[in-house]
Symmetry: C2
Subunit: 348 residues, 2 copies
Amino acid sequence: MLEDKKQESTSLEKLGEFGLIDHLTNSFTIDQKSTIKGIGDDAAVLSFDNKKTVVTTDLLIEGVHFDLSYMPLKHLGYKAVMVNLSDVYAMNAKATQITVSIAVSNRFPLEAIEELYAGIALATEKYKVDLVGGDTTSSTKGLLISITAIGEVDESSITYRKGAKVNDLLVVSGDLGGAYMGLQVLEREKEVFKVNPNSQPDLEPYSYIVERQLKPEARKDIAALLQVLGVSPTSMIDISDGLSSEILHLCKQSEVGCNLFEDKIPLDPTVISACEEFKIDSTMVALNGGEDYELLFTVDQKDFEKIKGNPNLSIIGHMTDVLEGAHLITRENTKIELTAQGWNSFTS
Amino acid sequence: MLEDKKQESTSLEKLGEFGLIDHLTNSFTIDQKSTIKGIGDDAAVLSFDNKKTVVTTDLLIEGVHFDLSYMPLKHLGYKAVMVNLSDVYAMNAKATQITVSIAVSNRFPLEAIEELYAGIALATEKYKVDLVGGDTTSSTKGLLISITAIGEVDESSITYRKGAKVNDLLVVSGDLGGAYMGLQVLEREKEVFKVNPNSQPDLEPYSYIVERQLKPEARKDIAALLQVLGVSPTSMIDISDGLSSEILHLCKQSEVGCNLFEDKIPLDPTVISACEEFKIDSTMVALNGGEDYELLFTVDQKDFEKIKGNPNLSIIGHMTDVLEGAHLITRENTKIELTAQGWNSFTS
């Protein structure tokens, strides 16, 4: 993607570090009243008054977390913000500010970094978060993005991983496995492209899952939806590593077990057909695929009627006594122990 | 340094990502009452009540910001925290929390990362800040540390870069140029070592400046000192890029000029003797060296008596009308325009 844009390229040395930060950030606006001072001093100044502050951070590294041969830089910038906002939403909080640090090697012209920031800008506009700080430096190799997201929440609304109780219902937003199958499609096209650089891939049938991989959306809407429904989640986590791994986090921190029902796991038809095409079991994809950035949470059983049938939410199981462990109940009604096979960057 | 420690080495793959985070962070304690929830959920939860929150972030990259051939990992961890706390102190705020993200290639055994975290732990203990989050991942090359520091401050105490007034006194804490000259000594020893690996460098005469480079201290004490003296700084910045560059930041944002007096710039005798040995002008080193992490601030002229003679503080100049520009007044009483030649990671 970079190669196509080499016609107009400005080297980063020309601008220098301060010039680059100014250039990249001067079009960002401030939306949040909690932002007193954004970029431009030694630190940003924020005001949360009687709200609690949540803070989370994530690091994305070229060649480990993303592959620029099929990930456009604008999408990468957008996704990097989503990954962090998703963690804020998983606390049942409102995301308010981010800081963005990037390290880039000199192989990237200014225009490439502008593309990256265009994606970051799109995310901050759509999700109403303020860019309030960051750092821009050179790297000896590749591109790296480190984002810290900050949010605010009323003390009574904070939802930890640890609050799930026995008999609580296990609920997930949206559908699962799409991001992983999108990645499979993109990886396949990359291999085809290597063999035949003139091939024009038809990604149209896969557009939903490719978008789930390249341009995921964090579930900002779920906190508001739950409020409208009158439901207070008892525990919550976002699905970055795969359903199985996240369920085990909730179980461990809440000291409960879980029965997950295979036939309740929400799958988009595109995911099912892609799984058939790639000969992968769709349940395994949902359990271990990761990167869907949906929210997984538990609610009291009495909230069943409020959740049931909501198109944004699927009840996929219930929590059990910790001694029962965490299991998948298959369509054939056999019980399989859940194990975390989520993505691990040190073994991949 | 790494080579010496290879006798006991544990590969990072063994632990995996979650295991590594747990392993590295389980000995950290929580000191700040503003920390409600630290590591272990989707995000940390903090409580600042009626205080304002400050946030700053910095990225340190192997081969750009540090050289592991002479920077011990423990010192690197310590310094990485200092770099960030310094920005919090430059807002006249109290540092309360940090998040630490690292990316490491598999060439680092677990013991190396433990050393890095031992330095981070030492910094958090000494400066009473809580480690509340982070990310640990693999990199394709080298080591990278991204730290976000958070602090709290009463609204009335916040000190921006922009508050300096004409006739305000320009004050700096500690002394300058040490970190840069320490780097020169270390770079020279590295070259000697390359030629003769059996050489045993005698760094004793340079211990002060080498420590300024390898183990700088952020000026946590200055806010308290100013409070005791009854002085409210009108603007403040930390010296990371060199005195000249930082003065220009204060001037630009405060819309004032500045006269800096060469004979008032505080230099340690070790810096002066090292400059003689290396045949470098000590004023140039103080102006452009950087990495001293001292605080540079302005105070009203009426506070002269309170500051004068304080061993921690030097009055080095005064602010002028913006039309007069920013100048160095040399020992020979000539006026030289100040230019920013601070460290720029894109041109080095």
